[in-house]
Symmetry: C2
Subunit: 232 residues, 2 copies
Amino acid sequence: MTERTTRRKTSRFRGVAAEERQAQRRAMLIEAGADVFGEHGFHAATVREICKRAKLTERYFYESFANREALFAAVYEQLTQNLRDEMVAALLPAPRDVGAMARAGLTTLFASMRDDPRLMRILFVDVFTVSDEVDRLSRRTTGAFAQLLQTLVDSFYPADRRGGLDTNLIAHGLVGACMNLVMYWAYGGYKEPLESVVHNVAVLFEALGAYVGGAEAPAAPAGPGRRVTRRR
Amino acid sequence: MTERTTRRKTSRFRGVAAEERQAQRRAMLIEAGADVFGEHGFHAATVREICKRAKLTERYFYESFANREALFAAVYEQLTQNLRDEMVAALLPAPRDVGAMARAGLTTLFASMRDDPRLMRILFVDVFTVSDEVDRLSRRTTGAFAQLLQTLVDSFYPADRRGGLDTNLIAHGLVGACMNLVMYWAYGGYKEPLESVVHNVAVLFEALGAYVGGAEAPAAPAGPGRRVTRRR
DNA sequence: TATGTTTGACAATGACGTATGTCAATATTC
DNA sequence: GAATATTGACATACGTCATTGTCAAACATA
């Protein structure tokens, strides 16, 4: 016969509402997760360390996330979201030609990766090893980047001028080229200047355009089946 | 006061010498390791499961390897060694022009990756997350592939015709393109025909050549820094 | 001030994996 | 055939970590 414990509710605590406090804690955990995952990698990261970094106790971890993997997914989505936004912001004002757009997007990409050392490990390495579900998430995300790229390519080169190329495959190849270059660049301590890295990748983009259809690029002889003359 | 226990030695057991038996066990562990690492990934693999798969007990595991990480490194070296050998074997008899060599090497690469599902995960994914030491091993190995590629590129296009490109960066980009395409291809269940994947990557190679030097006939106006123009 | 709420520090539990150890069965050498 | 080596199956100790639980202090409300 009790059940009548008035159940008061504390609507605000230290000036902020319960909902907002919880959201803040979640955000702090994501930030701390990015730090720890980015520094030691997912598999060496412990819930305890993440909580310590976030200045929260384990209880609050499980308030927002079912487990370490769920936090990783949240971190990943947060970081890719940011990156996508930055790249779109860089792309929008760029002149609408292949070289300029490539350089704008790539500059943002490589600069971001260099300026936030956590990104590479989280976005390009660990994400494939966390779990099948996170792996699928990463494929979708990488695929979305490739899709964006493909759309751009397709808009520059109409279907009849693609020389039998599968722009989907090409896009995935280019994304992979960027990923590996980021890793190589980072591993070498970012020795090459940003412009140099960007330029070389941009040339990859431009070369493709030139080879296939040569819209605004150095014209190529567009003969049927006429590829690089095979020695003979 | 004993010490004189004749310390007999069993030179052969079931017909094979001790050294060879141990080498066989090591080989079985490497094979089993490739299976287990390739199927579930390094971090989900346990020493017990690997031993079970190798039909050996844990004791023999530690006879050959200090820990799981050491086994992974051995597996990695074994697999990359094989792959390198296959690719070299495919490259040697190929006509010495960019397109043909690219296609020969790439066909071997993509076919190998498709035919042995363990490779992708071990060579392109897990290797970066095992430990710092294994990570360095992977950089060296990937770097060696890139180096090989770069040497080829450099031999086709002499320095004065590279349009300010850093062939080292380009090579790493191309390696990354291959890696990501393998992953994309595998993830999609190898739907696209092998020839199609190879063709699209080969075009990436050729396009670069065409863009930089036009055709593959460098016919270099043999400037000062003359190179071996591999072409007859 | 009294009562219930929110928080932080930390303990308890349980699962899991590595690395080493035990012991009996089998093979080999003398 | 006796003594030792080798093997295979299994057990044990040890540590780490995820996850839940306890408790008291700080805070908010009436």
